[in-house]
């Protein structure tokens, strides 16, 4: 019976990207893991810091430049030259389209999703080096972040965890 408790399992995810599309793998896997009773840690580093800084977290963007797997959902067969991503306005258009599609699946936006993960018991950590490099203050961080920690701290806390780099 899979609803009963399983032996202690632990997941650590390194979120290193600040693009809208790359924010979601960690969020979705995190909520799936927490729903399975798995101890879950998310470590935000480099561009991933945008996911947990109050100034940026609600404003992550998507641009198709360099993404050869980008197809228009309304016309999947239509060739879409990657260079279109360089045209002014495309980022805004692609971002709003992606946001709408995510919302249509009843999947929350990034900030609300992180609040949900915290309610589910997730542990959020920020990389010390990235934090210093980007000249941030604690006040710039999403309130659900538990702490700014070093790479060594992360290695320690992820002992025995399955670790995923995103």
């Amino acid at each position: 019976m899979t609803t009963t408790e399983t032996p202690h399992r632990k997941l650590a995810m390194i979120c290193s990207k600040g693009n809208l599309d790359m924010a979601y793998p960690g969020l979705i896997l995190g909520s799936a893991a927490l729903g399975e009773g798995i101890e879950t840690h998310l470590f935000f580093t480099f561009w991933g810091l945008d996911m947990v800084t109050t100034r940026h977290m609600e404003n992550l963007k998507y641009n198709p430049l360099g993404n050869t797997a980008m197809h228009m959902p309304q016309a999947p067969g239509l060739p879409l030259p990657a260079m279109m991503g360089a045209i002014p306005g495309v980022t805004r258009f692609a971002t709003s389209m992606m946001r709408r599609q995510i919302a249509e699946l009843d999947v929350p936006p990034v900030k609300e999703f992180l609040e949900l993960l915290v309610d589910m018991g997730a542990h959020l950590w920020v990389c010390r080096m990235s934090f210093d490099m980007m000249k941030l203050n604690e006040a710039d961080l999403f309130e659900g972040v538990e702490g700014v920690i070093s790479a060594t701290d992360f290695i320690e806390l992820s002992e025995g965890a399955q670790t995923i780099f995103i």
Partner: protein, 104 residues
């Protein structure tokens, strides 16, 4: 699909033990299912289970944790306190419904 007997009643279940015929369920059976997974039930627990049952009727799809919060009004934190460990699975199991398909 196997059939099992719970409280002396024949019940259709899948390999994981979830009911496959939601109509075979009533609250008495729900209480027996809760016992099987060691889940104590209070009125707060039953309110969640009743929401899942009522929501499933018209949709024929089990509410995810997120839907239980946004539509049912049960805060996620509370669901984790009421049904610790694997709340979505425990809730749907006790409610005699398939486990939710959605990712969130």
């Amino acid at each position: 699909m196997p059939t099992t007997r719970i409280n002396g009643r024949p019940i259709d279940v899948n390999d994981e033990g979830f009911l496959t015929v939601p109509e075979q369920w009533d609250e008495e059976l729900g209480a027996a299912l809760a016992d099987l997974v060691g889940q104590p039930m209070t009125e707060d627990h039953w309110q969640v289970i009743r929401f899942l049952r009522n929501d499933f009727g018209p949709r024929q799809e089990t509410a995810t944790l997120r839907r239980t919060m946004t539509v049912g009004g049960f805060p996620t934190r509370e669901l984790f306190e009421l049904f610790p460990g694997k709340p979505a699975k425990k809730m749907s199991y006790i409610a005699g419904l398939p486990k939710p398909k959605g990712c969130v």
